[in-house]
Each structure stands twice: as C-alpha cells, then as structure tokens.
C-alpha cells in the first residue's frame, strides 16, 4: 500500500517539476499556459490520489470518510483548473497579448 502511494507521489512530483520547467523556459505567455494548465492539474491529481491511498493503511470508517473527502478535492481540481486556464487564455486574447513568432525576441 505504501509502495503504491509512493509511486503515485513520485510521478506527481515529476510532473510538477516538468510544469515548473515549462513555465520558466517557454518563450511566450500562451505556451507557458499550455505547460502550466495541463501538467499541473495531472500532477496535483496524482499526488492527492497517492495521499488518499496512503491514508487507507489502517482501514477504518473514519479513514474511509477522510479519503472520500480527499477524492472530492481531486474532482474539484479536475474541474476548476482547466476552467481557470481557459478564462486566463480568453482574457489574454481580449487584452491583446501577442503570441510569439519565430525569430522574434522572447518575453
């Protein structure tokens, strides 16, 4: 049980690291959103599922209810994180942030 939870948490940390690398290195705002929006929600879900499995080591009713609440966080993040990313993208388009083109300066 602990080993499965550890694998989940490790994979989640890997995706968090990749997301942060993308946020730092990509050339313009839209590609940074692309890196942050997807890898971040996947990584958060993986780590939180790992915590829920870790919590079920001694199987009681109270622990089962706590794990159910943790899964509610998973559902909320899976709905809310893409929504926030979408709203941010749309606002950036309307505000007038220009996409990066090849040969131009990074910003």
């Amino acid at each position: 049980m602990t080993i499965v939870a550890s694998i989940f948490i490790l994979v989640g940390l890997f995706f968090f690291a990749v997301g942060v690398l993308g946020i730092l290195r990509f050339p313009d705002f839209y590609s940074r959103l692309h890196a942050a929006g997807k890898s971040d929600s996947l990584a958060a879900v993986l780590v939180i599922v790992g915590v829920a499995i870790y919590n079920l080591q001694d199987f009681t009713l109270a622990n089962l209810l706590v794990s159910f609440k943790i899964m509610l966080i998973v559902v909320f993040i899976y709905v809310a994180s893409p929504t926030a990313t979408h709203a941010l993208t749309k606002a950036a388009l309307i505000i007038g942030i220009k996409p990066w083109e090849k040969g131009k300066e990074r910003r």
Binding site: G19, V47, I48, K69, I95
Partner: protein, 115 residues
C-alpha cells in the same frame, strides 16, 4: 521510512514553489503573474495534504486544503476579470515608458541651458 519520503516530497514541493516565484515576480505581462499565482496555489493545496500526513491529523488538513483550492480558483477568476475590464497591458506599459522618457527629456534640457 515512509515519513522521511513524505518529508522529502514536501521539501521538493517547497523548492518548486520558490522557483515558480521567479515567474510571479519577473513576469513580463500581468497574465504571467496570475498564472504563477495559480500554479503556486495548486502546489500549496497538495503541500497542505502532505503536512497533514506529517502531523498525523489528516482529517483537519483536508478541510483546509478544500478551502484553499476554492479560494485559489476564485482568486484566479477575480484577477482575470479585473484585468479584462481594465484594458490593454502592453499599451499601458508603452504609455508609461513614453511618459518617463518625456519627463527625463524635459529634465535634461534646463541642465544644458545655462552653460
């Protein structure tokens, strides 16, 4: 053994949050700052659960994590709406730079005048 693993994961998460702060502080546009704050909020939600395991009181920290996730979502949407109504980002920056150049140009003219 397992507790050491959770502690190490928490420390790695804190380091990742500190690296994300670079984008929040030095982001060229407003959107980058909002994005960095959103990413940091997601990481903090996860970090709260890991802290809950370390303190062996997960039932309390789960409620805090739920409230934090809700607040993070609302804060991102609120900041997005605010900057959507406020108007262009780059135009405003250009205006500020132009004003600054005007002010410095005006200040340099009288210095050269008397001599």
């Amino acid at each position: 053994m397992a507790e050491h693993f959770i502690l190490t994961s928490s420390i790695i998460l804190i380091l990742l949050i500190m690296i994300s702060l670079i984008r929040v502080v030095g982001g060229p546009t407003v959107g980058d700052r909002i994005l960095g704050a959103n990413v940091i909020g997601t990481k903090t939600t996860v970090l709260l659960l890991l802290i809950g395991i370390l303190y062996e009181d997960l039932g309390m920290f789960v409620d805090i994590a739920i409230a934090y996730a809700l607040l993070n979502f609302i804060a991102t949407l609120g900041a997005t709406k605010f900057f959507l109504r406020r108007g262009g980002v780059y135009e405003m920056v250009d205006e500020v730079i132009a004003q600054h150049e005007e002010v410095t140009a005006d200040a340099e003219v009288p210095k050269g005048g008397p001599s």
